[in-house]
Amino acid sequence: MTNDELIWRVAGGSGDGIDSTSQNFAKALMRSGLNVFTHRHYPSRIRGGHTYVEIRASDEEVKSRGDGYNFLLALGDSFARNPQEQAYYGNEEIKPLSENLDELREGGIIVYDSGLLDTDEVENFDERVEENDWHVYDLDLRGLAKEHGREVMRNTAGVGATAALLDLDLDPIEELMEDAMSGDVLEANLTILHDAYDGVKEDYEFTHDLRAPTGDHDEEPVFVSGSHGIAYGALDEGCRFIAGYPMTPWTDVYTIMTQNLGEFGGISEQVEDEIAAASLAIGASHAGAKAMSGSSGGGFALMSEPLGLAEMTETPIVLVESMRAGGSTGMPTKPEQGDLEHVLYTSQGDSNRVVFAPGDPAECYEQTRKAFELAYDYQIPAIVIYDQKLSGGHQTVPESVFDEEPNPDLGSIVTEEDLEDAAQEAGRFKRFMYDAESGANGVSPRSLPGQKGGNYLASGNEHNEVGHISEDPTNRVLQMERRMAKLDSIADELSENADHQAVYGPEDAEYGILSFGSTKGVAEEAVDRLNDEGHSVKAMNVSDIMPFAKDDVTAFLESVDEALVVEMNATAQFRRHIQGQLGRFGDKLYSLLKYDGNPFEPAEVVSGFEVRLGEEADVGDYNVRIESATGD
């Protein structure tokens, strides 16, 4: 697009430190005053295989990956398996270069490690360079690294070369290296950084115009992922118990929680499977701790039955579901939004749960906090659904987002003093009262094991007011209606929260874009571009999935002529949810679907829109699909 943004892509092999190199470089850009957003692409492999991280940096707010990118740093892949082009995975050695050329913008920069990569192995390399006006700098990064330290330090050489080519100040990069390393390793890396920087400045004549943008932060920023938002939200709500089983990408939240819970006097349990994980969260919450668990699609499937148990026993828990491309094992490291219906309805019987879908790290923090608050106030499971993109993608967020007071409140519980006067029947506390004093919101306060005067039976079977198993029809209806009434009360409470759905763009716009979860940023960027091009478009990213933000979405849809529902799955699950919840608007809704394992780029949304407006015949090479809600 413009020169006021840098989109730096560092490509190499899994296990070569691409991720940590990119994290530090992104932080350095942040410290230089820029906003950053990262997108990570990696295979489900430990060692070897093409991987890249993209860092988009600008003085402006950045909320999405860009369209393509403008600076490639191609490093080698130390663990590349197949040197032959005929091999199943192709020639892995050359992939850091060959796999990344399609998305490099015209006029972009290529820096490659000539110690490991040979452009002769890339088909039509020279022709493509000329055609696209790319500026190519070949550097023996490996040689430089070996000269002063170890071969893996070529990443540092690449960063030094990048800084030289972009006129970036080395100070923030050095500071970050000093934070992360020490002794000989630090010395070697610093030498390599400077040698690469000086070498490039001295030996190369720069033919490119691109320079690093400059900027200033209005507010002190921090560099966090959606997983940090979720974990920090949980910690600030007093969550001190987590149980889990490793699974990509949910492991990010699980790890962050575990690494902090010891210090915070909490308990983290790694258990035998996800059935156990969710059951442990229930057990801990039942005994009086604020507890959570979570997983990704397959693991969450195992949580179905405990989830229903939490609904039936009215045990507060928060579960998080980090979606990845399905079905079954699917594509473990790739994002998708295909688990929406799974999360909404899994487990037997009528579902009775809260589901939030935050759109960025700040929303992850706020909505995880709200999920805990509602779960404990209403004694109901609350689920935060997000995806691999939000899980691992980092971006700059004002630190003030996290400057909030903790809320360890256990919600609707009784104390032993309350129990002295509490209603009892047959020697048991009336835990599930039809007409609880707390009013019509359906919540009957709970006692905790160990409290005097509070014993009752929690059961997944239908039960009467003291928890005893009951199949009496009158009791059944009263208990069902009481439990189901909670969602109406929660919907009322949420509707008071005026800006829970993120609305973006001119209020009186003719057209709408609807999305949920991590698609927020890309939809908003598309809105900006479409309006700049003279269209009249606004966006709404829906967070309140269940109870559904009916009034907000209705008002939004009534105000536009047509809306494009943008989501990362093949069957338009979110669009169907909208139609199911609102019972109308089918003739106004169109879907833009993507399910190839990569998140949307803004240009794809723009293109989808232009097709709908009849300005373009089709979406061209983009791997997306448009369909109408009515099927024509």
Binding site: R31, G238, G265, G283, A287, E416, A426, G450, I469
Partner: protein, 311 residues
């Protein structure tokens, strides 16, 4: 000041306190072994000095799962096979509770077998009672993990081709630190074993033989039984893992030959409980987590203080 004053209460305890006013008479079939578990449990409670309100009984699904309906305490009737993960987390959140889990042989050794193995391995300080009747009762008599080889039922019309699971050996290899087998027909021994299991600091596994007079008529009233501690025919050291393993193997085989060997099979008093291990590594607070939410003076940590690593 505790928010849980039932815990550690020092008073006279009557076993009748454990009888609920609703359904004081359990609805199991006449002659069912499950009555024996209920009775033995009620008798054991006063012996170990624990009251109904400091006790959490977590049960699975099946006839055995109804135990929490007929026993007055804090109860949690969970889902099939999952009593152990619910129970052990409650114990971690509030270690002052007396936590007992119970379920059938299908519940514990079949659908919940993974949890059994791992809860034993971790040695949580709790008691697990498995009602072993060698059959699925509530679903009307299907073959279960402890049914003998050749067992015929509607789901195994030609006789089961599977050898039964070895519950005691499984407990031992998994890491349980107290393992016993008792029988409903032996109420005194059952009461003593349950009391010992509750007093044991670690995972105590009781394989409790509960005859099913309705669906397992060929069996088995589990008489005559032999208490291996009382018999001169069996001389082994219950603290010796190898000797215990041999004794278990023999007892498991003998059951299907009609010889009912009961008693204590293995006791390890030295192994620290999971809670102790976890506190030693700094991964579990010394004060019960559940108390903290009632402590008005506690200064809750904030994520804001973690932000330096993100700058």
């Amino acid at each position: 000041m505790s928010a849980f004053n039932a815990i550690g209460e020092d008073r006279e305890i009557d076993r009748d306190e454990f009888t609920p006013e609703i359904e004081p008479q359990a609805t199991w079939c006449p002659g069912c072994g499950d009555f024996g578990v209920l009775k033995a449990l009620k008798q054991a409670m006063p012996e170990v000095g624990r009251t109904p309100e400091e006790t959490l009984l977590v049960t699975g699904i099946g006839c055995s799962g109804k135990l929490s309906s007929y026993f007055r305490s804090y109860g949690f009737h969970s889902i099939h096979g999952r009593s152990l993960p619910v129970a052990r987390a409650a114990k971690l959140a509030n270690p002052g509770l007396e936590v007992i889990a119970a379920g059938g042989d299908g519940d514990g050794y079949g659908i919940g077998g993974n949890h059994f193995m791992h809860t034993a391995r971790e040695n949580h300080d709790m008691t697990y009672i498995v009602f072993d009747n060698e059959i699925f009762g509530l679903t009307k008599g299907q073959t279960s993990p402890t049914s003998p080889k050749g067992h015929k039922s509607k789901t195994q019309p030609h006789g089961s081709a599977k050898s039964p699971i070895r519950p005691l050996s499984l407990g031992l290899t998994s890491g349980a630190s107290y393992i016993a087998r008792t029988a409903a027909v032996n109420p005194n021994q059952a009461k003593e074993i349950i009391a010992e299991a509750m007093e044991h600091d670690g995972f105590a596994h009781i394989d409790f033989l509960t005859q099913c007079p309705t669906w397992n008529k060929d069996a088995k009233q589990y008489v005559p039984y032999i208490d291996i501690q009382d018999s001169d025919d069996y001389d082994f050291d219950i603290h010796d893992r190898r000797e215990a393993a041999e004794m278990m193997y023999e007892a498991e085989d003998a059951l299907y030959e009609g010889e009912v060997l009961t008693g204590r099979f293995y006791v390890d008093d030295d192994r620290p409980s999971y809670q102790q291990e976890k506190q030693a590594t700094g991964d579990m607070p010394e004060e019960p987590l559940a108390e903290r939410y009632f402590d008005d003076d506690y200064e809750w940590e904030r994520s804001y203080d973690l932000l330096d690593r993100h700058r």
